[in-house]
Each structure stands twice: as structure tokens, then as C-alpha cells.
């Protein structure tokens, strides 16, 4: 008995060693652009996290004596806005709100969309019909109009704005996950799991979701970019964050009136939005390449 195992071991093991796996980071590092994207994302995350700990001025302290002061004014490194509030401080504190709202909205959309996509793609039949048609209805409305409708019903505000942009992004995730579920449910390893007696929950989460993770990571990263724009747009229209708290979108909106006199009051928050969205998109592209199995190892 042990003879057999020993012999078989020899047979299989005379193999040369398999080269070590390349880590996700090592693969990501080869892509300069995505590295740059990651750097941009890191900066905005740093801004958001560090705001309470840095010696910044109160972002809501009004001082009408220094209205619309220029970049480089002593005491106000990036100048002040129309009420004399320190722009640098408002950018740091605004990052907290912009990022939290978009991240939370993305998470809500991702979790809801993923569950809907998994269930409809796996069980098919009437479950799929109901979910997919629901998703189609959501997609039939113009993206932003739908968000505005939701706010019209719920009323403006930070939380409602977040729910609104989360809802309009559910179809994005539901579609992607349904697609990968449809192909994965036919795979041999799902068949093998059925043959072992695995239940639906196990197959859905352990086999199908686990293999959709890379798709999901990429989709989420790219979606975060959308979400930042959407959150800023809602605030710009005055439907998101309510004064005096402000995010980049409201800063952009209030600076707009002084575009010729003090352009930096609008282009600084605009630049922050632009660079953060760019960062997430570049990082998402890089992640997609790095997670593609065809790019792995050799």
C-alpha cells in the first residue's frame, strides 16, 4: 500500500519547481499609468483622513474682510471663497464628504447589484425575469434624471442624495454580475460542487462570487469615479449636501458666480474632482489588466 503511494509520489514529483506567483501589486507596478492613478487616489484619501488632525482653519469660519483672496495670501495658502472661508481647509474637509458619500453609495449599489445579479443569473426562470426587467426599467431612464426623481420623492439632503445615486448604479453591478454568473454556473467546477452535494448558498458565494471578485473589484473602482462626479453634480445643483457643510460639488457651485473675479474658487475644487476621478479610472484600468489571468505568470 505504501509502496504504491511512494511510487506515485516519485512519478509526480520529479517535476521542476514551479516559479513563484507574482503578486497583484507586482503586476500592477508594471503599469505606470495605473500607478499614477493609485497615487492620485491615495492623495485624496489622505486629504479626507487627515483633515481633523492637520492644523487647518475652521472650514466654516466666515471672515468677510478677506473675501475672495488670491492663492498665496498669507494665512490662506489657497486663498478664500466669497465668504472668506479658507479654501485649503474646505478642500480637505470636503474630501471627507465627497469620498464618504461616493464610497457609501458605491458599496450600497455594489452589494445590492451583486446579490440581484447572482440570484437572477443563477436561478433563472421567473426570478430572473422579474429582476432583469426591474433592472431594465431602471436603465430605461436617463441616469441623472432618475437620481433627480428619487430626490424629488425623498427630498434633498446628504443621505437621500447618496441613496439616489446608489439606486441608479445598481443596474451597472447587477448586469455585470448576472453576466459572469451565467457563464460560471455552467462551468465544470460548479458541476463538480453539485456532485459533492453543495447547496445553492455555497455554490453562489464560494464558487460563483469568488470567481467574479476580480470583475467586481474593477467595476467598483471604475464606478467610484462615476459616483464622485454624480455626488458632486447633485451638490452642485444644491440637492446633496446642505450648507454650511460643503463638499467639492457645492464649492464648485458657489465659486461659479465669481468665475472671472476669482477663478481659483471654482477651479481648485474642479481640479480636485477631476484628478480623483481620473485616479480611480486609471487604477481601475490597471487592476483589470493585472487581474486578467492571461497576463499572469508567463
Amino acid at each position: 500500500m505504501s509502496d504504491i503511494s511512494a511510487k506515485q509520489s516519485e512519478l509526480a514529483e520529479a517535476a521542476p519547481d514551479i516559479p513563484a506567483r507574482q503578486s497583484l501589486f507586482a503586476r500592477l507596478r508594471k503599469n505606470r499609468l495605473s500607478l499614477f492613478g493609485g497615487f492620485l487616489v491615495l492623495i485624496s484619501v489622505f486629504m479626507a483622513l487627515s483633515a481633523p488632525y492637520l492644523p487647518l482653519q475652521d472650514p466654516n469660519a466666515v471672515d468677510t474682510s478677506v473675501r475672495l483672496s488670491a492663492i498665496g495670501t498669507p494665512g490662506h495658502l489657497l486663498g478664500t471663497d466669497e465668504l472668506g472661508r479658507d479654501i485649503m481647509s474646505r478642500l480637505f474637509w470636503g474630501a471627507r464628504i465627497t469620498l464618504t458619500v461616493s464610497l457609501a453609495a458605491t458599496l450600497i449599489a455594489m452589494i445590492t447589484g451583486t446579490i440581484l445579479g447572482l440570484v437572477s443569473g443563477y436561478f433563472l426562470g421567473w426570478t430572473d425575469t422579474v429582476i432583469s426587467r426591474g433592472v431594465d426599467v431602471l436603465m430605461a431612464f436617463p441616469y441623472f434624471l432618475l437620481a433627480l426623481t428619487v430626490i424629488a420623492i425623498l427630498g434633498p439632503g446628504l443621505l437621500n442624495g447618496m441613496l439616489a445615486i446608489a439606486l441608479v448604479n445598481v443596474p451597472f453591478f447587477a448586469r455585470i454580475i448576472r453576466g459572469s454568473t451565467l457563464s460560471l454556473r455552467e462551468s465544470d467546477f460548479v458541476l463538480a460542487a453539485k456532485g459533492m452535494g453543495a447547496g445553492h448558498t455555497r455554490i453562489l458565494f464560494r464558487h460563483i462570487l469568488l470567481n467574479s471578485l476580480s470583475t467586481l473589484v474593477v467595476a467598483t473602482t471604475i464606478n467610484l469615479g462615476f459616483m464622485i462626479t454624480a455626488a458632486a453634480a447633485l451638490s452642485f445643483l444644491g440637492l446633496g449636501v446642505q450648507p454650511p457643510t460643503s463638499d467639492w460639488g457645492t464649492m464648485l457651485a458657489s465659486g461659479r458666480q465669481y468665475l472671472s473675479a476669482a477663478p481659483h474658487t471654482s477651479y481648485l475644487p474642479g481640479l480636485a474632482i477631476f484628478l480623483t476621478v481620473l485616479g480611480f479610472n486609471l487604477l481601475g484600468d490597471g487592476l483589470r489588466d493585472a487581474l486578467d489571468p492571461r497576463m499572469r505568470d508567463s
Binding site: 503511494s5 506515485q8 509520489s9 509526480a12 514529483e13 465544470d188 467546477f189 456532485g195 452535494g197 464558487h207
Partner: protein, 339 residues
């Protein structure tokens, strides 16, 4: 070294008139639908401890048959008895128990292993599903299984893509063995492997069968592999068994014209054999729209008027244990005695 004489003869699996149809639609607009008869009235037994070789070309229904028996796919009608259980009519709990007894090994060792799970997690999964043992005993069991299939336990934390094709198939076999099954459905287990690796896996399967007293349903398109591994051979064509016989009998005296064509088409690794190849002509009939009479009529060299009329020929014994589905055996094999 492998003693095949003292095997018990009681059937472990009895398949009776098993059918599996798929519904098909004719096109986008017509909306009419028919039935594709992937498995159409299959009857056979597998004895405990033997290897039944199931051979046929692509689309003949051999994989579907294996999947229905492994309860990976429901049957349309028929009966499958495993030991004393009617496996097509089981409630949830008894089905789970049956799954422990019948396990499958798949053709593509890459597709059948979840790429996101380590070898350890893959082999442990059936133990977790069936709530076998504790964390420690499961770990020991997985390491045991790895050694059994000829892999070092140190490899346990690697992912499928870090193994070669043959090693991956060893993981697939270890996983199938985890619940100590009695019957293994081997669906083309060596077809995706290189020749030199194929031999390793065939040897491993033979050793395991001997050691663990396993019964195999060995599905393959390769008549050479089947000749090496099988005790009895069943040939499938268009959803039906057309010939069933002991290994030696089948390879020495194939009776069905399709079996004869299959055997003659097998390229042999010997340049000195100049053979008469039987080339089949004509097309395969449409499984959703079968002709009256014998399903092989459109490609058969011995076709007669009777073959084109209903009913189709039955699977009848020509000698003890040798069953053939053909009307014209007396004409095709004039010297042979048929009873």
C-alpha cells in the same frame, strides 16, 4: 498485479430504460420545439468492482448518461438503482448520502477545479459539505489523500494554475475520493492530457481501484484506452447502446457495423499493419428528428429494407453477455452463430 478473477458479480448499479431529452427550438421565429434525445432508452448493469468502459463519438450521449447517473442532471424517465436505492427518486437527505457513494472525475482538470481555491480547500470541500470530522482530522485526511494520488502534501497551499495538467487531474481524483465513494464516474479523465501523463493517470486509477475496491464507469472516446482499462465495453451511438460485451470478446469479435467501423478507424502505433479501414459515409441523423427504424441506417454499409422501417432493432444477445442492436447480423457475420 491486478487480479481480475475474484471480483464479485452482484450489480452495484442497474440502469433501466433511462432517457434524457432536451427541448430544442427550431429557430427564432418558428417557435416550434422538439426533443433532442441525448439518452434514449439505455439499459445496463455495472458489477461491483468492475470497470465498464463506455465508448462513443462526440454527441452520442455518453457524458449526459454519466451526468444523469451521478445526479448532476435530472432524468426524463427510466430507473437507476444503486445498490438498493432508486436514485432518481430520493429526498434531499438521502440524495446527499448517495452523493458520497457516487463521485465524478471530469475531463478538463482545469475547468473542473475552482481556480480561486487551493488544492487543500478543493479536496477538503466535500468533507465540509458532508460535515465529516473536525478541522484537524480533515487536515490529516486531505494530506493522506494528496499522498494517495501521488502529490506531496507541501503542495496543498498552491492554486490549480500552479500545477501541471496531470497534477491537476490528480487533485480532481483526490477530491472525488474524499468521501470514500463506491462508484466513480470517470468522464474522459485522460483525454486532455499528454500521452506520457495519460499513462500515469491510467496507472493511478488502476491502483486505486484495486486498493479501494472501487467500481468505475469509464467514459472515453478512445478505444485504445478503453481496451486497456475496461472489463466490459458498451458502445453508444445516437443516445443508445448498440453493443455491449466483455473486453476480449468485443475487441476480437465486434458485431455491430458501427463498432467495426470504430475499431477499424483507430490508428494503431505500428506502421507494418496495413489495414482495411471501414470509412463511414453519410451524415449523422438529427437527434431531434430521428428516422424510422435503425439510427445507424444512413451511415451503414449493410443497410437493408428492414432497417428503414419501425421498429428499431432491439439490443439482443448474440452470445451470453454479448448484446448487439442490429437486424442484419446473420448477413454481416455469416459464419458466426447467433442465438
Amino acid at each position: 498485479m491486478i487480479d481480475r478473477t475474484d471480483k464479485p458479480t452482484a450489480p452495484i448499479l442497474q440502469v433501466r430504460d433511462l432517457k434524457r431529452f432536451f427541448s430544442v427550438s427550431d429557430g427564432l421565429l418558428s417557435g416550434t420545439s422538439g426533443e433532442l434525445r441525448a439518452v434514449d432508452g439505455v439499459t445496463f448493469d455495472i458489477k461491483a468492482g468492475e470497470t465498464l468502459g463506455l465508448v462513443g463519438e462526440s454527441g452520442c450521449g455518453k457524458s449526459t448518461l454519466g451526468r444523469v447517473i451521478a445526479r448532476l442532471m435530472p432524468a426524463t424517465s427510466g430507473e437507476v438503482m444503486f445498490e438498493d436505492r432508486d436514485i432518481l427518486n430520493l429526498d434531499h437527505r438521502t440524495l446527499l448520502a448517495l452523493r458520497a457513494d457516487i463521485q465524478s472525475v471530469f475531463q478538463d482538470p482545469f475547468a473542473s477545479l475552482n481556480p480561486r481555491m487551493t488544492a487543500f480547500a478543493l479536496i477538503q470541500e466535500p468533507l465540509i459539505i458532508h460535515k465529516v470530522g473536525t478541522r484537524e482530522t480533515r487536515r490529516a485526511k486531505v494530506h493522506d489523500l494528496l499522498r494517495t494520488v501521488g502529490l506531496r502534501p507541501e503542495f496543498a497551499d498552491r492554486y490549480p494554475h500552479e500545477f501541471s495538467g496531470g497534477q491537476r487531474q490528480r487533485i480532481g481524483i483526490a477530491r472525488a475520493l474524499a468521501l470514500e465513494p463506491k462508484l466513480l464516474i470517470l468522464d474522459e479523465p485522460v483525454s486532455a492530457l499528454d500521452v506520457s501523463i495519460q499513462a500515469q493517470i491510467i496507472n493511478l486509477l488502476a491502483e486505486l481501484q484495486d486498493r479501494l475496491n472501487l467500481t468505475y464507469l469509464f467514459i472515453s472516446h478512445d478505444l485504445g484506452v478503453i481496451q486497456h482499462v475496461a472489463d466490459r465495453v458498451a458502445v453508444m451511438y445516437m443516445g443508445q447502446i448498440v453493443e455491449l460485451a466483455d473486453n476480449e470478446e468485443f475487441y476480437a469479435n465486434p458485431r455491430h457495423p458501427y463498432s467495426m467501423a470504430l475499431l477499424s478507424a483507430l490508428p494503431l502505433p505500428d506502421p507494418h499493419i496495413a489495414r482495411d479501414r471501414i470509412l463511414l459515409h453519410g451524415d449523422l441523423p438529427d437527434l431531434a428528428n430521428l428516422p424510422d427504424g435503425c439510427r445507424f441506417q444512413s451511415r451503414c454499409a449493410h443497410v437493408s429494407a428492414r432497417c428503414r422501417k419501425s421498429p428499431e432493432p432491439p439490443l439482443a444477445a448474440v452470445s451470453p453477455g454479448h448484446l448487439v442492436r442490429c437486424w442484419n447480423l446473420a448477413d454481416i457475420h455469416p459464419g458466426a452463430d447467433t442465438d
